[in-house]
Amino acid sequence: MSLDVSQFVGVFLEESFEGLDIMEAGLIDFREDDPEAVNVIFRAAHSIKGGAGTFGFREVSDFTHGAETLLDQIRQGERRMNTETGDTLLAAVDCIRELLRASSEGGDLDTEKVVSTRTAIEQMLGKTPDGASAEAAATPVVNAGWQISFKPRPELMKTGNDPLRLLAELQRLGPAKASVDASRLPALGEMDPEACYLDWNVELSAPVAEAEVRGVFEWVEDECELSVTPLAPAADEAKKSAAATPPAGGPAGGNGDGKPPAAKNGATGESGKRPDGGSIRVAVEKVDSLVNLVGELVITQSMLTQMGNDPGDFDLLRLEQLREGLGQLERQTRELQEGVMGIRMLPISFIFSRFPRVVRDMAGALGKSVDLRMEGEDTELDKGLIEKLADPLTHLVRNAIDHGVESTEQRIAAGKPPAGQISLKAYHQGGNIVVEVADDGAGLDRAKLLAKAESQGMAVSDTMSDREVWSLIFAAGFSTATKVTDISGRGVGMDVVRRNIEAVNGRVEIESSYGEGTRIILRLPLTLAILDGMSVRVGDETYILPMTAILESIQPKTEQLSSIAGKGRVVHLRGDYLPLMALHEAFNIDARAQRAEDGIVIVVATSDGRAALLVDELVAQHQVVIKSLETNYRKVPGVSGATIMGDGKVALILDVDMLLRLRRMH
């Protein structure tokens, strides 16, 4: 029997990281009156420990063991959960995460933190000796050696286990003396050559933990009688021996071909690559419905093929059938597309779930009191977007706590409730996903922003609209924080947030009123791979505009168009003057519509407000597959990517924000 465990290591790591998230969430929301809560946390810790042991992440399982013991005491009611325990356990969660990461991917490990957390847990456990005794044998209370009696059942070898291997594994723990008891051995004629008739008594004179000894027999537990009794107590040497324990004890791996060490190495190498690819867990129903759809598609395809291959004449009746078949094909393709995209969708709670911890830690560090409210955690987003959204959102939440929410005294003075409110919201709005980060803090200070911008040499004026003033904070190196803290104030941040969001075709908006709070709104496309777009024609070229950017399109009348200083053109639309940019001028192509009145004006929303684009005509609205230009070429300013149209030609997808920003530079 050869069992390649390496393929399971990835799954184990993934489950462990999920388990850690569960522990973290559970610890933050912990309430005494909910007995299930601690059970959930305990179970997560327990499975991490078990899995880590199985896959040879010895450090992780050892470390987790302490936390698990602590949790067990809380579960049994022997210990109360208080802030100190909570903090220690949260620190332990961090350490386990780090340990897992370090042992799977390599890289640096904050050993200091691990050791100090471990000591903290041990100290806690030490405070209640009654609680500690339960698992004392496994915690570093160790004897001078063990008397082990190992009586395998006859069928042990049939399951691929080899007692010799187990004994060899024992020997790796320390000097061992084994004696065999052959009393069960039958006469030669009655003997089954594949059965095991021998019992062993092993005297292991090494000060290792009982768990380690038992770990050797982990795989054959159900197929033998095992008794492990201490030789002589030597508890005072506990610390020293724990350090001296050979780290490679490892699970004895029940397979007979010496695979475990090799498999483990392979797994480590493989999981090192893991962050690039990643994997998604998909509900079985989603996969089933896809399989069904593909089945239908195959049927339709064979129907159409048959129709095409039939040598008979092609009459009008057949045409009707063909149309029907094509209609079916279209529906199935669309459903398949939706289904496949659905696989990539994950609830936004994947990101949101980290924020209770962020808020708790930061508010604690800043001495502020902050409540976090979250809405719409079930809103589904593309996995790629989720990954790209994590950093900007974290930054926004940190900003809200650090700059937004005032200190408790200031809040009371301003007549607000002492605890600040931060709310995170996610919802769908017209083909977009909207994520909001709002606080009820001080809000942006218009005067201060303007003064700061002026002192940094930016072109500002008092007549700028609020929106323009707020967007000053996106400028690189801009910070109004009076002091630079650990957390923020260095002025890197908002520009990065905006860049990250725009990189995924999203937009950032700010609403703020002084003294009442700030709301940052992120508008994102539903997915990264497919874009809802409008194809427009300019001269002989076709371009795609993302639907998320388009507000409306109009046929301009002469009186709506005017120019400023003979150059800058504006469109007068319902009382507003919007800057007009002719795409054919921006791209240096010959437009068919020489006069703006003959073209179409598309009103687009950008991060810097509304603007108008002049094109020759609107062609159609369709979903396009985004292809990168950078694969074989390079980034083109004003273009976010390319797509292939129905006729096989390439069309460029425009990045409206960038396009208008470029124009302003010229």
Binding site: I589, Y633, R634, A642
Partner: protein, 163 residues
């Protein structure tokens, strides 16, 4: 493939095969291992504000490939586009790039000693991407280091920051 069966490969180790192509009156050679395929010239999608030699991008079986016209790049021959216009699709590192030339002429096997270093023209001509000059049947072939040429900064094919 055994050496006996293929006379081209049967040449010694230091020989290499070149694909030769014409630009105006000049004949160039590039390492055939960089050539993916040769195809006709399709309608390209222009990219605004790019250098003149960058004709645009095409869709090659779902992959977006930039097309450059060497005739414009080197100011040789006339940049006309008809059914005889040839595009050499190159593999440069992990990238795919299309190159328009006047005509593809031949596949030639060259030994290392057949290639002479190109004289230095100083500032008049940048010879950095020219491997050397070779004489085949009384014709001069300019052997170019296509990878160096395509990744050169002034080609602007690659984001230099990313490269």
């Amino acid at each position: 493939m055994s050496q006996d069966l293929n006379p081209n490969i049967a040449a010694t180790d230091d020989a290499r095969e070149l694909l030769t192509f014409r630009l105006g009156q000049e004949e160039y050679g590039l390492n055939i291992l960089n050539v993916q395929e040769i195809r006709g010239y399709d309608a390209v999608t222009k990219i605004a504000n790019s250098p003149a030699f960058l004709k645009g991008v095409i869709n090659m079986r779902g992959v977006i490939v930039p097309i450059i016209d060497m005739r414009i790049r080197f100011n040789l021959g006339e940049a006309t586009y008809n059914e005889f216009t040839v595009v050499i699709i190159l593999n440069i590192g992990s990238r795919v790039i299309g190159m328009v030339v006047d005509a593809v002429s031949d596949v030639t096997s060259l030994k290392a000693e057949q290639v002479r270093p190109a004289p230095d023209f100083g500032a008049v001509l940048d010879t950095a991407y020219i491997d050397g000059l070779a004489n085949v049947d009384e014709r001069m072939i300019i052997v170019i280091d296509i990878e160096k040429l395509m990744t050169a900064e002034d080609m602007g094919l690659i984001d230099q920051a990313a490269a």
